[in-house]
């Protein structure tokens, strides 16, 4: 490098490196992918929560988001496809003092892991689920999934998807989750507060995060680079706290309703078990 960057100090370490396995960085996520931003928000929320690091475990499934557990310097496990929630359930039941966080993608949590998701919500397992939704299976070259909006083009729906999609907040709320929120990877501060709230919440708490996928979903649907997709979120997201999750569906190119939809208290699985046994 002959020239030098002006007014910038070159560094080797980041203040968050304490929480990261920095030997694995730079990570494999694409340039501009929202997953890194979401991981930053999670680490920041974890730092603010004051939780003991030895009492936090992160579980993730398969997919781009599945790599999150491997980049965090916390106890964690990279499970088989769709089985992040069952593993987390076992972890919580085996050691109820642990704060168990599931960070996984839409394809992992609501497609192959859909049954586990609704039943963990029904039982009100005391775990926090961070579901990163990029509307397709990014790691395997952008196939359509259950959250792909109707009409969206993916590598397995080249003429446009003709199926109606799942809305993750609606699914979670209908199954009985105690905390349901949705943000995009642009709403970093609100996302951080929301993750903090979800971590402190007793019961099944779900935070869905809409994230750009510039390489597959963005390219196939002519949404442009990650930067342009972030601008789209900026222009089209509407914050409606406490609104009905039934109205949180996402149309291709339409508005994205974000905010905290559900925040209620309910006895958890372990509470009910203690009471009855």
């Amino acid at each position: 490098m002959n020239e030098e960057l002006s007014n910038v100090l070159i560094s080797k370490e980041h203040p968050m490196d304490d929480y990261l396995r920095e030997d694995r960085l730079p990570h494999i996520w694409c340039s501009g992918c929202g997953l890194g931003t979401i991981l930053t928000s999670f680490v920041s929320a974890l730092q603010k929560s004051g939780l003991d690091r030895d009492k936090v475990a992160v579980v993730s499934g398969i997919g781009c988001t599945g790599r999150a557990a491997g980049y965090l310097y916390l106890d964690g496990f990279h499970t088989t496809h769709g089985r992040a929630i069952p593993f987390a359930t076992g972890l919580k039941l085996g050691n109820p003092e642990l704060k168990v966080v599931v960070i996984s993608g839409d394809g992992d949590l609501v497609a192959i892991g859909g049954n586990h998701f609704i039943h963990a919500a029904r039982r009100n397992m005391d775990i926090t689920v961070i579901c990163v939704n990029n509307f397709n299976y990014g790691m395997t070259s952008g196939q359509m999934g259950p959250t792909t909006p109707t009409g969206a083009r993916t590598s397995t729906s080249p003429y446009g998807n003709h199926e109606p999609p799942f809305s993750v907040p609606y699914l979670a709320a209908a199954s009985g989750a105690t905390y349901v929120a949705r943000w995009t990877s642009l709403h970093i501060r609100r996302l951080e507060d929301s993750i903090l709230e979800a971590l402190n919440k007793k019961g099944f708490s779900v935070v869905e995060i809409i994230s750009p996928c510039p390489t597959y979903y963005g390219k196939k649907n002519k949404m442009g680079s990650a930067l342009q997709q972030m601008k789209y979120y900026h222009e089209n997201s509407v914050i409606r706290h406490g609104s009905d999750p039934a109205e949180s569906g996402i149309d291709l190119g339409g508005e994205i309703v974000v905010g905290c939809f559900i925040n209620k208290d309910k006895p958890t699985f372990l509470d009910s078990q203690k009471r009855s046994v």
Binding site: N7, P26, S31, T37, T40, I188, L227, M230
Partner: protein, 87 residues
């Protein structure tokens, strides 16, 4: 920084000033920090890292006020701000 009126506590409150640190090998040139910096402190340079991504740099005419947005929005853990003491 442009002020529309003189704040009553202007003599007591110091605007914090930060300096930008970049980890060159982690940056992937997504331009999110440059686009979303509220004070337009950052700009893209014509310098590339080993992987061929162009890097951000600081436009010397503007001051960083340590809002921390670049640090939060960077997907690569590649940029952070440290406060410069006023002494």
């Amino acid at each position: 920084m442009k002020l529309w009126r003189k704040p009553l506590d202007q003599d007591r409150v110091m605007i914090p000033h930060g300096e930008v640190h970049i980890i060159i090998e982690r940056c992937k040139g997504c331009e999110l920090c440059v686009t979303y910096c509220p004070c337009d402190v950052l700009e893209m340079s014509r310098i590339f890292n080993a992987k061929g991504y162009s890097l951000p740099q600081v436009d010397g005419s503007k001051d960083c006020v340590i809002c921390g947005l670049c640090e939060m929005i960077c997907p690569e853990f590649a940029i952070y701000i440290e406060e410069v003491s006023h002494g």
